[in-house]
């Protein structure tokens, strides 16, 4: 067993930390308040080759595995979750193309993403479809050599700024079994009949773009279907190990940022003639935050490492996602408490961390769903 990071991993982490501190920290508050998408930072991240870090080298990416991606996510989210998500999500949905796409599809879709010329999204959720993914009702019907798509997708990250979306559609309503009859189809945002409505008023991650997508007889060529027709549910499930581990890393990052801010503030702020870090009540909060962040990091790195070894880790990925998101919410909560009144306004980043942390318990499978998965794996039966 070896817990040591390689020199390359250390260097990667350092450089991303530098980028986050120099480029993101100074503007994070502004983008949060104005709820606007950070195009200028995305351009800078593209210059650094930070977009789509897991895209294979032959398609212009860096070819990094889940562990390196987790490190990148952690450093970005330790500074700002909204902009961090904006950066890391430019390739959402591309996992399916990477694993199930044809060479032609990989070239066509992955290369522009790695180059920072295209932004993507994964469109699964619908107004009436959240935790129960098998209830997807967006329809795709074959007409000649085209797919005709109708329906609505809800809460789609990058929805109003994305160039294309990997959309989970029902292609065979008569298929037997509730997990059959779905397909993943790429829909470009410049197709006729495509519309995106930006969702505003979010509690946190306000720099990240979220939208409702409306498909009204949108026609795409049949070559836009990814992988096997009618088998997309299983395709989609394959990436939960990877994507849930990445959300776990988001939680670790937020906890790290909350801890960092708290350490600084507690040593600076004086009451009763001494720094508040002299009070045991504050010390214990800090000790708990650090311990939980370290535990979550180890769980996340282990999950990421196993994904990179090609292992199936349904339970472990859910554990990492559930635990890291929980301790992120706790850490942000304690960070505000340590800041007192100053933590209740956005002069300090902890106010933002507090609002941002919550999303990690909701998207990519809620806390309840993660626990269902863990229990199902332990008990060996369907726990939904």
């Amino acid at each position: 067993m070896d817990f040591e990071l390689t020199d390359e991993q250390k260097q990667l982490r350092e450089e991303v930390r530098r980028f986050a501190e120099n480029e993101i920290a100074p503007i994070a508050e502004e983008y949060d308040v104005e709820e606007k998408y950070p195009h200028e930072i995305i351009d800078k991240a593209a210059d650094m080759g930070l977009l789509g870090p897991h895209i294979p080298i032959e398609y212009g990416g860096a070819g990094y595995g889940s562990l390196e991606v987790a490190m990148i996510v952690e450093e970005l989210f330790a500074v700002d979750a909204g902009i961090g998500l904006s950066i890391i999500s430019t390739s959402f949905g591309c996992e399916s193309i990477m694993h199930f796409g044809t060479d032609e599809q990989k070239e066509r879709f992955l290369e522009p993403v790695a180059a920072g010329e295209a932004i993507t999204g994964a469109a699964i959720s619908e107004p009436d479809t959240g935790s129960d993914v098998s209830s997807v009702s967006t329809q795709a019907e074959k007409d000649g050599d085209e797919w005709v798509i109708n329906g609505n997708k809800m809460w789609i990250t990058n929805g109003s700024i994305g160039d294309f979306f990997v959309v989970l559609c029902e292609t065979n309503p008569d298929a037997e079994g509730r997990y059959n009859g779905f397909s993943q189809i790429v829909v470009e945002s410049d197709r006729d009949g495509f519309e995106a409505d930006k969702i505003t008023g979010k509690l946190g991650i306000r720099a990240s773009d979220t939208a409702e997508l409306i498909f009204d007889d949108v026609r795409v060529p049949e070559e836009n279907l990814i992988g096997t027709q009618d088998a997309a549910f299983m395709q989609q499930m394959q990436f939960f190990d990877e994507t849930r581990t990445a959300v776990a890393a988001q939680g670790v990052g937020i906890a790290k940022g909350a801890l960092r801010a708290s350490l600084e503030y507690a040593q600076d702020r004086e009451q009763f003639g001494r720094p508040i870090s002299d009070f045991q009540a504050i010390q214990h909060k800090i000790a708990d935050m650090a311990t939980e962040a370290e535990a979550a990091r180890n769980l996340t790195y282990k999950a990421a490492w196993k994904v990179d070894q090609g292992e199936d880790i349904t339970k472990l990925a859910s554990m990492a996602k559930e635990f890291a998101s929980r301790i992120a919410v706790d850490a942000a909560n304690e960070a505000v408490q340590i800041h007192g009144g100053a933590g209740y306004v956005n002069d300090f980043p902890v106010e933002r961390f507090y609002r941002d942390a919550k999303i990690t318990q909701i998207y990519e499978g809620t806390t309840e769903i993660q626990k269902n998965v863990i229990a199902r794996e332990l008990l060996g039966k369907g726990a939904f």
Binding site: D7, E8, Q11, A62, Y64
Partner: protein
């Protein structure tokens, strides 16, 4: 054209620190690539990308632990790195300019670069002398505190702009081979790209001893000794007001009045 860039890992200090004898205690210290060298590397890499230089080589005097820092230059585009270190350097806490000059000179003799870029100074020892001293000992032309370099480098000359005291700048030309000491602000150093970081791990980083480059170990015995370390007393305090000009102008006027400044 071959460019040699001298790079150093330097100690950086936390905002708050304590001095212990002639040292700053370890817990307040971090290591990083010298800020000025970052600009020198960027300038060299830009010359290479512009097709002016064929090869960019970095040289450092430092222990094995500094390799991670030195690889930053490789990740940003330098082709290979040379690291000189020796047992005899181990306990030396103040390597003087003369010793650095001798060591770097030996590397230059092996590499025969057309252009040497160094940082104006290092952030920790701040000699501001190594680049110029190296040029003198090599009998190269030099220009110090360069904040603009014309990337033509035609006819074997470099057109530079250098910063003099009091905000005065000077334009001059130096014949190659030459040493330029690079000032911050000459360019905007890039972040190492993710691909660059990957590739850097496979680029050559050669470790050499003093013996390997034909330098006598006696060179490290300097005539300088560190006798004291202290924080200088600040003679005056700067007041910084935050806010817009409208909000703060009144406060400034008030303070000037208090200090006895009258119109």
């Amino acid at each position: 054209m071959k460019i040699l860039v001298t790079v150093a890992e330097v100690a950086t200090v936390d905002d708050e620190f304590e001095i212990d004898g002639t040292e700053i205690a370890d817990q307040y210290l971090n290591a990083d690539l010298n800020e000025w060298d970052d600009y020198a590397i960027e300038e060299a890499v830009q010359l290479q990308e512009g097709g002016v230089a064929d090869e960019v080589v970095t040289v450092t005097i430092g222990p094995e632990e500094s390799e991670q820092t030195i690889r930053q230059a490789l990740a940003k585009g330098a082709d290979r790195a040379i690291r000189v270190w020796d047992e005899s350097l181990e306990g030396v806490d103040l390597l003087d300019v003369r010793a650095k000059t001798e060591i770097l000179k030996a590397v230059v003799a092996e590499e025969e670069p057309d252009l040497i870029l160094s940082g104006v100074q290092t952030g920790d020892d701040s000699w501001m002398a190594t680049g110029v001293s190296l040029a003198e000992s090599l009998d190269f032309q030099w220009s110090a505190v360069v904040n603009d370099l014309d990337h033509d480098l035609e006819d074997g000359t470099a057109s530079v702009r250098r910063e003099l005291e009091g905000g005065v700048e000077e334009l001059s030309e130096v014949d190659l081979p030459a040493v330029l000491t690079i000032q911050t602000g000459i360019n905007e150093p890039r972040y190492a790209s993710l691909r660059g970081i990957r590739q850097a791990q496979r680029k050559p980083l050669d470790a050499k001893t003093l013996d390997d480059i034909g330098v006598d170990a006696g060179v490290v015995d300097g005539s300088l000794e560190l006798t004291d370390m202290y924080e200088p007393e600040s003679e005056s305090d700067a007041t910084v007001w935050e806010g817009s000009a409208e909000e703060t102008a009144g406060e400034l006027a008030e303070m000037l009045r208090e200090k006895g400044v009258t119109a």
